[in-house]
């Protein structure tokens, strides 16, 4: 009796340990986040006003607002997603759904992606400057910055999307194949709608990464703190503004914190929006 109970007891202890570790992790990560967020809020909240959101900066960002940066950030993100989403979705489909016909290409692409994920952002920045800005002649521009960012978020976007696609039960694919449905129909009518949670996860991670990026943008979308008139204009992203204020402008800390707060709010809104849109799409199809 006592012998047979002994392993049971250790397992219960392990279970309790697991529960404890999980709770501790959640609390620790939560606290860490609150600590960081608290520091940002404490410093930055007082600076935020409608004028801050709507005005142009002056005195190197110590006064005025961040409106041009907001516009530039959204435009850069827009370009980035416009390029990265189709490219990422397509590649993820290739990796997840064409495993038999395109095995070799798939392996090559997957290897490339893991490699790409480890390329430091500053190298992306220098590369973007050399390739998009100079070889393609885009100069310092929102387009060039968005393209560079697109290259950067691709690995995250693709691997997450791929995981999402793999999470779709194989029985759907079998069912569709047994009905003689074309791959196109199978993918667009059945697989993709079912993969929406994974796609959102990828999108959210990608947007976060794109909004947070600094080093890759300094050399591509640039430093100009005016309203951009077109995608060919240089525009300063919020993350660069934050970097400049906190590292380069004496007395810019509070404004940097306020800008960071705005950036986080923006990200939260975009994440909620993406979730809602995707849910609606999934329901409608």
């Amino acid at each position: 009796m006592s012998i047979s109970q002994r392993p049971g007891l250790t397992v219960t202890a392990l279970d309790r340990l697991l529960g404890f570790a999980m709770a501790a992790t959640v609390i620790a990560v939560g606290l860490g986040f609150c600590w960081i967020l608290g520091a940002i809020v404490a410093q930055g909240l007082g600076q935020i006003s409608l004028a801050f959101l709507l005005a142009e900066p002056s005195n190197a960002g110590r006064e005025g607002g961040i409106a041009p940066m907001l516009v530039s950030t959204l435009l850069i993100l827009g370009v980035c997603l416009a390029i990265a989403l189709p490219l990422g979705l397509g590649t993820a489909l290739l990796l997840a759904e064409f495993t038999i016909t395109d095995q070799r290409l798939g392996r090559l692409v997957r290897r490339s992606l893991d490699f790409l994920a480890g390329v430091p952002s500053i190298v992306f920045g220098l590369f973007g400057n050399a390739f998009f800005s100079q070889v393609l002649g885009l100069g310092f521009s929102i387009l060039s910055g968005g393209l560079t960012l697109a290259c950067m978020v691709l690995p995250l976007l693709i691997r997450t999307t791929e995981e999402g696609l793999r999470a779709v039960p194989p029985s759907y694919r079998q069912g569709a194949a047994a009905l003689g449905l074309s791959q196109t129909t199978t993918l667009f009518k059945i697989i993709l709608p079912a993969a929406v949670p994974g796609l959102i996860a990828g999108l959210v991670l990608g947007m976060g990464r794109a909004l947070a990026e600094t080093a890759a943008l300094i050399f591509t979308s640039g430093y100009v703190d005016r309203f951009p008139r077109s995608l060919m204009d240089s525009g300063r992203a919020l993350s660069i503004h934050i970097f400049d204020l906190s590292m380069n402008i004496p007395g810019g800390d509070a404004r940097a914190a306020a800008s960071a707060l705005v950036l986080l709010t923006l990200l939260l809104l975009l994440n909620l929006l993406a979730g809602a849109l995707a849910q609606r799409w999934a329901n409608s199809s």
Partner: protein, 295 residues
């Protein structure tokens, strides 16, 4: 500027803009400004991140006077400014140091001066260091504050600048040091990183731009500047030339500039921007001594 790619730029820009449902507005043809000088076009400045905020403010004021002109300021470091000026992708480079002899193909236009001060945490009771002591500390021969008159019993944290930075060059030259001799505990990039490192560490010693340090002290941060050769560092002593540790901020060009860039260079060296220079914690060039500051 960059006529070759203008058409491509606009067409590409337009296509991309349509994609996002916005409209690109083409620039209206030239118009004479109030002074009768037809200045128009883009001026691109790239280079030092120290100069960039000042250049942006100058650019804004210049644009107010010449509505047909756009001044785009990009950063990326002094070396980028030199390279871009040489290869033509920038009209003007920004460099936070004097030009080296091998850079004689470029013309420097000094716009402001910046001093370098040794800083300590304000809790540190040490009030002055002799040049020899500074050298010993940076060479790792003095490692405890207690070795210095009035110092607390704690190890010294030496904060140095990263290789290639112009503040490092000026500092090394002044104290006749080689970078490989320096035994640092922390190596930093920008001024603000140095200030934050020292304000967060009561045992640290570092050196940063005087303007930045003055600004931080003014905002009540726990920081103090040490006098050098008996002269306390401030924008005033820098301005009257008594403070020895200083560098020049330059705009550089190659060959003859276009009229617009030429006008901007003149503007940046004129008294019209003096308040902007002071606002960014630098010292205007006219009143500063022209002779090199270091022996």
């Amino acid at each position: 500027m960059k006529k070759i790619s203008t058409i491509r730029q606009y067409s590409l820009g337009t296509v991309a803009f349509l994609m996002l449902g916005l409209t690109a507005c083409a620039k209206p043809p030239q118009a004479a400004n109030s002074e009768g000088i037809k200045l128009q076009g883009n001026i691109v400045l790239t280079g030092s991140s120290t100069v960039a905020p000042l250049a942006i403010e100058m650019g804004k004021r210049f644009e107010e006077q010449h509505p047909q002109v756009r001044v785009d300021v990009q950063t990326g470091g002094s070396s980028r400014g030199l390279a871009d000026t040489r290869n033509g992708s920038a009209d003007i480079g920004m460099v936070s140091r004097s030009l080296k002899p091998e850079e004689g193909d470029l013309t420097a236009h000094a716009i402001a001066r910046d001093g370098i001060a040794i800083i300590l945490h304000s809790e540190n009771p040490v009030a002055e260091l002799s040049p020899e002591q500074v050298v010993d500390i940076y060479q790792g021969q003095l490692t405890q504050w207690s070795d210095v008159a009035g110092g607390p019993t704690s190890p010294i944290t030496v904060v140095n600048k990263a290789e290639g930075r112009s503040t490092l060059d000026v500092f090394l030259k002044h104290f006749d040091l080689k970078n490989s001799e320096i035994q640092a505990q922390v190596i930093i990039g920008d001024n603000e990183q140095g200030i934050k490192t020292v304000t967060g560490n009561p045992n640290a010693i570092g050196y940063v731009s005087i303007g930045a340090a003055e600004h931080s002290i003014g905002r009540g941060e726990p920081l103090k500047m040490l006098p050098l050769d008996g002269v306390s560092p401030s924008t005033t002593t820098l301005q009257d030339g008594t403070f020895p540790l200083a560098r020049t901020l330059n705009l550089v060009t190659q060959g003859a500039s276009e009229p617009t860039a030429q006008a901007f260079l003149q503007f940046a060296q004129s008294p019209q921007v003096q308040d902007l220079i002071e606002q960014q914690n630098f010292v205007p060039i006219e009143s500063a001594p022209l002779a090199p500051s270091t022996p």
